[in-house]
Symmetry: C2
Subunit: 356 residues, 2 copies
């Protein structure tokens, strides 16, 4: 028998991240794009198309593909539509895709870029607080399936990310809360100074930069989510399941805020996290409209939980808090299997507290 | 403005390649699999299921998913079927997929492994000569689209490849020719000694090992196909277009054999390749049933060519031969744009020679 080892020399290319005001309106993005060789195609939903994509397309001589808005658009149907349109437009390997919009758009277009002809150049231009502090950063791409959220996807870092802070000025309060949920999560799992700042003023501009910096530090160390990166999943085990059973009617940030409260409660129940700090969490999240979706039943919730990507050997695993700013490391797995009977009292509390 | 660079530390894992007789029947594959943590799921078509998958599944305590056979199965429909079945079976990130079969199976299952929950462990067990010398090696995964072959896919190296040479004993002559086409291509583009050996005896067992070794050397240097790896595409620009217009009725190897002849003719027409060596090529390929598909028209052929993945800025590019064993490097691009008028006389010759 012959044994040969293939060692491909894959050098991961760095992602350049630009954060500032007026990036879309300045010549900056245009200058960056003049160095690209082939076609440029911008993908946006109808709202973002009118706000930013039409102007940007004119600037860059780019074409626009319009996708429906909302999490319901992040599925195989829109995926097939985009692939077909790209073929019809003659997109080739020199084509660059610009994903302009919120997390739905950047996740979906990132996935398309990663599978079209085995990979197109990708630029992300997040236009929501959630997109800027979380979804656009870290190279994860995804679409949802009827079985659950983000269950199909790839790790495919973009060439560049342009976070134009001016886009935040048009956001509704609801949209801002959506992003705040991920910022607060970063405070809970990684950087207690974010939590402390947010306790004084949730609008402090430092929060955004610190959250981005934290996420970058984490994903650089563990891009493929084999270990440390799992901490970013805090609040998302519960959060994703709630989104799934609601048919993606509740916004991601609201689901994550609920998930963080409930998983903090679970951390306390399992004696990792102190009741005193749990009080702080309850106070902080009172600014969110925390309600379980109207479609909630314990049965469909448990079923949705069973599709969590951290599950191994049939056991659902949770990221658990040690204290504010730190999760329990569990020998570098950063998550722990939780048996159904251990979950029971947390679900009782959750239903009692958040059922409509 | 802030500028931050994200440098993810992605270490490409090596692929272990085992080549020998009796690998499926020995305890070898089983031993390898005892080190895997989660579920094992074997994917095979009905023929391979009966020949090998049922026994292997019993050995490994694995489940089997059956897919239709033939290139027509390598599309979005089978893809959706496999993803749904995996969700229903509760496949999680600790699951290993074993692709057992020819190039269709290894390409398709590789793609599924790369996108299911952002990546499952993958083992390829190619059971055809074409699969062993070509399709299974190099980390390319793909599905076909109505626009063309392999237009959707990823680069996703498997954990291991088990090439059991006993599986070749059940192959038809047609299947053997299918693999020979890729071996001869390797002789033309990279290793003249393969060509010389094949001129004496196309059944020489050394051919298989040399072809595998050649492919590994090439893909290690350029896994993402930015440069040298393009030489493997010789014969495939024409070949893929012929497969597409035939509705995948003609076998890949036959299409590649035709493609190699025609692209060698083109290389000669453009004065890169000598008429004397072209004669050798004509002689060698006389063992193949070289006929254009019955659906061929020049119009649909040119249309299908226009979806070639090497196309940039609207121009179709070809890998061209310098001499037997060497392609023209074209400043490390290893391909050259060919204008429609430069292609004209080659298409005339092709129709004259190979039209049914």
């Amino acid at each position: 028998m012959h044994k040969i080892e293939i060692n491909p020399q894959i050098a991961a290319l760095p992602t350049e991240v630009f954060i500032g005001e007026g990036l879309l309106k300045s010549f900056f993005l245009k200058n960056f794009c003049t160095h690209l060789k082939g076609k440029i195609i911008i993908v946006a939903d109808p709202l973002v198309k009118n706000l930013y994509a039409l102007d940007l397309a004119t600037e860059l001589g780019a074409k626009i593909l319009t996708i429906p808005s909302g999490e319901q658009a992040k599925g195989s149907k829109t995926c097939q539509f985009l692939l077909d349109e790209l073929f019809k437009m003659g997109a080739d390997r020199d084509t660059t895709l610009i994903a302009l919009g919120g997390g739905v758009t950047t996740d979906l277009v990132g996935f398309i870029a990663s599978i079209y002809m085995r990979g197109l150049a990708l630029i992300l231009v997040p236009t929501t607080l959630l997109g800027i502090v979380d979804a656009a950063i870290g190279g994860k791409t995804a679409i949802d399936t009827p079985f659950g959220k983000n269950l199909i996807g790839t790790i495919y870092p973009p060439k560049a990310i342009f976070a134009d802070l001016d886009t935040l000025k048009t956001l509704s309060e609801k949209e801002k809360l959506n992003g705040l949920a991920e910022i607060l999560k970063m405070g809970l799992i990684y950087d207690a100074s974010i939590w402390e700042t947010a306790q004084k003023n949730t609008q402090d501009p430092d929060l955004l930069l610190k959250a981005i910096q934290g996420k970058i530090e984490i994903v650089q160390q563990d891009p493929l989510e084999r270990s440390l990166r799992r901490i970013l999943n805090f609040g998302h085990t519960i959060g994703h399941a709630l989104e799934t059973i609601s048919g993606y009617e509740i916004p991601h940030g609201e689901a994550v805020a609920l998930g963080c409260c409930i998983e903090a409660y679970l951390s306390m129940q399992l004696n990792y996290f102190s009741p005193k700090e749990f009080e702080q969490i309850q106070t902080m999240y009172s600014c969110f409209p925390l309600k379980l979706p109207s479609t909630y039943t314990r049965t469909n919730f448990i079923h949705a939980l069973s599709f969590d990507k951290k599950k191994v050997l049939g056991k659902i695993r949770f990221v658990l808090l040690d204290k504010i700013g730190k999760v329990v490391p569990f020998e570098n797995t950063y998550c722990r299997a939780v048996d159904p009977h251990e979950l029971e009292s947390t679900l009782d509390w959750m239903e009692n507290r958040f059922l409509r």
